[in-house]
């Protein structure tokens, strides 16, 4: 498969995922389940952009690891801060006020 073809398929996947994830926000589902779904879609989209558009596999390993930290870290934070909302509020409340 040509590199251009891969880019085109990556773009189609991103568009489908974006429209699909928009439906997540229009339902009445449980907050934690929505957070897990949103985090999963976010991670997949970030990895597609970083691999196919940003060509991160050709970057220096340290740069790749640092960007990967963001790609995996944000979705994990979305899940953690949804599931552990009260402890986070207590922790930051004690630190801030």
């Amino acid at each position: 498969m040509s590199s251009e073809r891969k880019l085109d398929l990556a773009w189609v996947a991103l568009v489908v995922l974006s429209i699909g994830s928009a439906r997540l926000g229009s339902g009445d589902d449980d907050g934690f389940a929505v957070a897990v779904g949103v985090a999963l879609v976010m991670a997949i989209k970030l990895l597609i952009v970083s691999r196919y558009f940003l060509e991160l596999h050709e970057a220096h390993p340290r740069i790749r690891k640092a960007v990967d930290l963001f790609c995996y870290g944000m979705p994990i934070l979305v899940i953690l801060t949804t599931g552990l909302r009260d402890p986070l509020a207590r922790l930051t409340g004690a630190a801030l006020f």
């Binding site: 991103l14 952009v49 790609c71």
Partner: protein
């Protein structure tokens, strides 16, 4: 180039920390928040930026093959789709202000403006950079062997795109 990009990522990491702490302290406001915003506008931003990023990636591939005319065409398309972002922003702001969603509309809206306006500034820098790269491409400055400026711009634009992919679900989807 990567130093600048990591400065950008650090800036947004701090803003995301503000978002998570504000959300933990105001669960009701953030739960009701997405319904106050236009999901259509949020999805529109996402599609515009993703499509613009795809065009930039295609432009870079065309440059590597020495197809300068194709590179310019892809960059032109990337610029048009990139302009869609501030274009949608104008309509969304008009809708928001008509619905009373200004700076006094609560912590969710303030956090939303704080993060999305910062991102908008980065998109503006990107659009200016895109014009600069297009001019240099048109002048024949870049070659298949030496087009570091185009690559640097592409990296910046894709990272700005990735930041939006993080911001979009935080405000438009998560309850």
């Amino acid at each position: 180039m990567w130093v600048g990009i990591f400065c950008e990522l650090t800036e947004f990491a701090l803003l995301f920390a503000v978002y998570f702490v504000a959300r933990a302290h105001n669960p009701e406001a953030f739960s009701a928040g997405p319904a106050r915003l236009s999901l259509l506008a949020g999805t529109g931003y996402t599609l515009m930026l993703l499509t613009s990023g795809w065009c930039v990636a295609r432009a870079l591939h065309a440059m590597r093959k020495g197809e300068r005319r194709k590179t310019l065409q892809w960059m032109g398309a990337a610029f048009v789709f990139g302009l869609g972002y501030p274009g949608i922003k104008i309509f969304e702001l008009q809708r928001n202000f008509a619905n009373g969603l200004d700076g006094s509309a609560g912590v969710f809206i303030v956090t939303y403006y704080y993060l999305t306006f910062t991102h908008l500034v980065h998109v503006f820098w990107g659009l200016l950079g895109m014009l600069w790269v297009m001019v240099r491409t048109g002048l024949g400055v870049y070659t298949p062997e030496d087009h570091g400026g185009l690559e640097a711009f592409a990296c910046y634009w894709h990272v700005t795109d990735m930041l939006w992919l993080m911001i979009f679900p935080l405000f438009y989807l998560l309850g």
